[in-house]
Amino acid sequence: MRRSASSGPPPTLAELQRTLMRALYAPQSARTEQAIVRAANWAPRDALALYRRMGALRFEREVAREFPRVRALLGPDEFAALARAFVASRRSRSFTLDGYAEGLPRFIARTRGRGSAHALASFELALRRAERADVKPATPRPGALAHAPGARVLGGPFGSDPKGPVVVVFQRAGRAAWLDVAAAEAPMLRSLLRGARVDRAVARAQLTPARIRGAFERWVAAGLLIAPPSRG
């Protein structure tokens, strides 16, 4: 049995949807919400607030899922505030949430500076990309960093202190991996990742031959390089 429509001209579907979208994303502008919304036991304002909060929570959970290490670094409360601010600044145009949170490192850099949270967020983003990427091994220039078969550097080096330790993210045989690099060895790896010839990167490193050899051996063991140089 049909119910009688309420008095007054009803909004068209298009008017209703545009009004509701405004009410959800810019609540201060939704002056007509009470005319179109009825919730049996609550004020329309409360029903819209529920949708608003459920929607924000969905995005905030996605941010937390993509950046668990940043959450661990900041703690749940500070991370929740960061995620809320990020979600408030970024709406989705995609039919999937994949990639929604990729702007978090840039957002952190803009709002909080390039400290440890930014470095860690950049690292986690690179790690996610390495997990998802269908990549082919890079072909190094002659004399430059020789990647292991299937290995490709996809991010980094990450580190908030230009003179401190760094992390490099790479893909190895289709899986994401990362490598911690000591502060003293970081300049050598930075040079290599920028494409410097191995002999020049080594010369700039100002490390003992044993230290250089040890670093290359660890990078080989991690699967980033195919072999250490024959000479320190």
Partner: protein, 281 residues
């Protein structure tokens, strides 16, 4: 039996990433798996191979949240192309989405937003459901959503809207029993009357899930065991629609696979009673 000849796969679970390896390693008996469409559209190679292995081990159905059938925006043809390719690659037995809209102006709220139940909305959604079915090359099933507001200019109850929509679009129904219950608690209405208003032969799948009480609301959280009242409503649904593929949804604070199967097993005696009653009739 539904009019489309789609089989009753028994009891199934929604695939969640943390259970995928265990499912592949041990192949526990499950009637079917439901895959969240959007999670599988653009997977990296390794995950794609895992999904395909699961699809070869279990019957799979696709359940989406972004078809946006109720929206005034144009249908997303790229999305439909990708869903069709995914369904074909996995051999999905059917594709479902929701009676809702998720955004306008190109924005996606990723929320299942409610429609007014008006003639305008009915014909709008029916037209787009037919277009979507043409693009997908198969009939879709539409789910009754959980909604937390309504519109004063609605002209008919939701169940009547769905029944008419099925006729106009010649589509199937995915009946979410928990949503029927949650909506009745939040907005009033008789859940039994709701079931009675739906066409008997268009329900091809049933969803079961848990809800939570928050500040006077019943929220469809998918984060709790199925409530006793919802189990009773499920029994009513089987009495009306016959044995229908039944899926347990659990999306937050996800328990172990064994615990989920334990919750799902509560449906077995209900299905047995429904089968016995049908045989006796």
């Amino acid at each position: 039996m539904n009019r489309f000849g789609l089989p009753d796969f028994g009891l199934g679970l929604g695939l969640r990433a943390q259970h995928a390896r265990e499912l592949l390693a041990h192949r526990p008996p499950l009637g079917f798996l439901e895959l969240l469409t959007e999670n599988h559209l653009r997977q990296p190679r390794r995950a794609r191979e895992q999904t395909e292995a699961l699809a070869s081990a279990y019957p799979v159905v696709l359940h989406g949240v972004s078809m946006n059938l109720g929206s005034i925006d144009p249908l997303d043809r790229q999305y439909l192309r990708e869903v069709r390719e995914l369904a074909s690659r996995l051999g999905a037995r059917w594709i479902s989405d929701h009676l809702c809209w998720t955004g306008t102006g190109g924005w996606n709220s990723h929320e299942l937003l409610p429609l007014p139940y008006t003639d305008e909305a009915l014909h709008h959604v029916a037209h787009r459901a037919r277009q979507a079915q043409d693009a997908l090359g198969q009939r879709i099933a539409l789910e009754n959503p959980s909604t937390y507001l309504a519109f004063p200019h609605s002209q008919m109850p939701e169940a009547e809207f769905l029944a008419q929509l099925c006729e106009l679009a010649d589509c199937a129904l995915l009946l979410d029993v928990n949503n029927v219950y949650v909506n009745a608690m939040n907005r009033g209405g008789d859940p039994s009357a709701y079931l009675a208003a739906l066409p008997r032969d268009r329900v091809v799948q049933i969803h079961l899930a848990g809800h939570s009480r928050r500040g006077g609301w019943w929220i469809d959280t998918h984060a709790a065991p199925v409530a006793p009242d919802v189990w009773r409503l499920y029994e009513e649904a089987l009495a009306r629609f016959g044995l229908v593929s039944t899926l347990l949804e659990w999306d937050a604070a996800i328990p172990s696979l064994a615990a989920l199967r334990g919750e799902l097993a509560k449906a077995e005696p209900i299905r047995a009673r429904a089968e016995a009653a049908a045989n006796a009739a």
